[in-house]
Symmetry: C2
Subunit: 327 residues, 2 copies
Amino acid sequence: MSASFNDPECRLAPAAARPALVLGGAGFIGSALRRRLAMEGRPTTVLTRSAPADRTFAGETWIQGDFGETDLVAELMSPSHDVYHLVSNSSPGIGNWDVEIDIANTVVPTLRLIKAAVRVGVRKLIYVSSGGAVYGIPEVLPIPEDAPTNPISAYGIGKLAQEKYLLLFNRHHGLDCQILRVANPYGPGQKPGGSQGVVANLLGQALKGEPFHIWGDGSVARDFVHVDDVAHALVLASDYMGNQRVFNVGSGQARQIATIAVDIERVLGLRNQLRIHHESRGFDVPENYLDITRIGSETGWAPTTPWLAGLGGTAEWIQRIHSRNAM
Amino acid sequence: MSASFNDPECRLAPAAARPALVLGGAGFIGSALRRRLAMEGRPTTVLTRSAPADRTFAGETWIQGDFGETDLVAELMSPSHDVYHLVSNSSPGIGNWDVEIDIANTVVPTLRLIKAAVRVGVRKLIYVSSGGAVYGIPEVLPIPEDAPTNPISAYGIGKLAQEKYLLLFNRHHGLDCQILRVANPYGPGQKPGGSQGVVANLLGQALKGEPFHIWGDGSVARDFVHVDDVAHALVLASDYMGNQRVFNVGSGQARQIATIAVDIERVLGLRNQLRIHHESRGFDVPENYLDITRIGSETGWAPTTPWLAGLGGTAEWIQRIHSRNAM
């Protein structure tokens, strides 16, 4: 028997048609998410502080503004919206002295957003947190979602506080939410030269014929997950109807920076690039990788991009922006 | 051989002579701490927003002001100071909607205090956190210090954020600190009729011949620790030289509200007081009690006040203030 129009199931809009609001949609993860939403034919509103990106996808509406402008954000949302909060006005390397600024720029605007979402009654709020920053130095590997959270940066404390406030409003005000603790994302769209994104940085160096710049001795190990896999997890998280609120999103394995450099040489057909080692940074955790069992069993998600193919695709993208900039 | 003046040990001021600064010293725990510091002959500066308490102890200097006034607080501290941060401008029952106010009143002033303490280079900063609020609904009982922290109130999130910032400045700026997650303190000094302090409230009701007012069915269980034992833990924490930064402070056992009412009847020689049951409160965790193994093995602390004696002493204190108010 097929579902009839009187079937209450029909009153739930299918995911393909549900509108999405992406806060911070011009960024690295935001762009991958927008591509995925466009592929699924979902009407998407994008809020961004910067001017709209060159390339917008079908069905997108761009609005310039800050996610802390409660009235504006409230005007963009409806009860059928999935709201993706990808804004990060901060980074792991921010000073650990000017912490008030981090609170004012990230925690307080998120609180305003949460309240607006409760007032409007949005379908779901999906928040991108950081697996690297929230757990701190891990006691067990891989790190499960209920591991102790001991951030060693102001950025990580801010992320943790935002998570806790989301859960508070989930508990007391019925806000449906999903928190994704993403490992180290990499892939097309991550520009070399930034303070984050070691894969893009190493690729950028290799493609320019420069030596690899490596923090510490290269033994620092991280969990790298392709940005398209992250985008897929974000969409599955919005469809998810179960009881878990927090999901790790990673590859579930650790790769040392030193071995990534070797892999890049392999993908680019290079040999024995020079390595320059820099003093390791105070906010670096020696090793971490995430236990991704929960999101797998709850949503069916798994990372599907093979590592070397992901590196190759990222290299192509960086070459394209390099050659475009050179024109 | 006794220690000579040239012995480098002599350059460490003995605990008995070390000055203390107590922020929020007019409150319930603050008053018990000041009594203990006075007994040990320690010169103590007390910062309080309210007017000085009736009874001040020997060796105390009282200053009126807010702990968020960085310049003032910096003027009160020296490198030999133990600084006790007992200020709580918030309570577990505060609205979980106006969270920005909690951040502005508790988290941000604590950050300012932390920075002042780093700049001055105080000997140690001792922070009173809340075992009940920080852990949330426990997954294991008794709750150890490394249990998951899932606050279910804005108050608890604020406490947790303050803890994390202390640990951040400990890590990156060398701030020596100690965090005490105190269970439910009770004892002389806790006034009946407040939003916290179920022991004082029940005692106050019984002493006035009123019925017991009980939230829920009385099965809610808490870990009650005598305020003099808490004061002792605070002083031991300031002497502590080991590597642990976080200590639970409790009795290590749970008492149900309903059995406390029975114990109070026993101590006061009453029988079959009327019970009036009220709807349970949203921010109540059903049961919690703390694992106090760590503070015991690290500092030698243990709660020493017997429960019924503690109840009796509290009853006497409440009777004294009742009769003073009746004069």
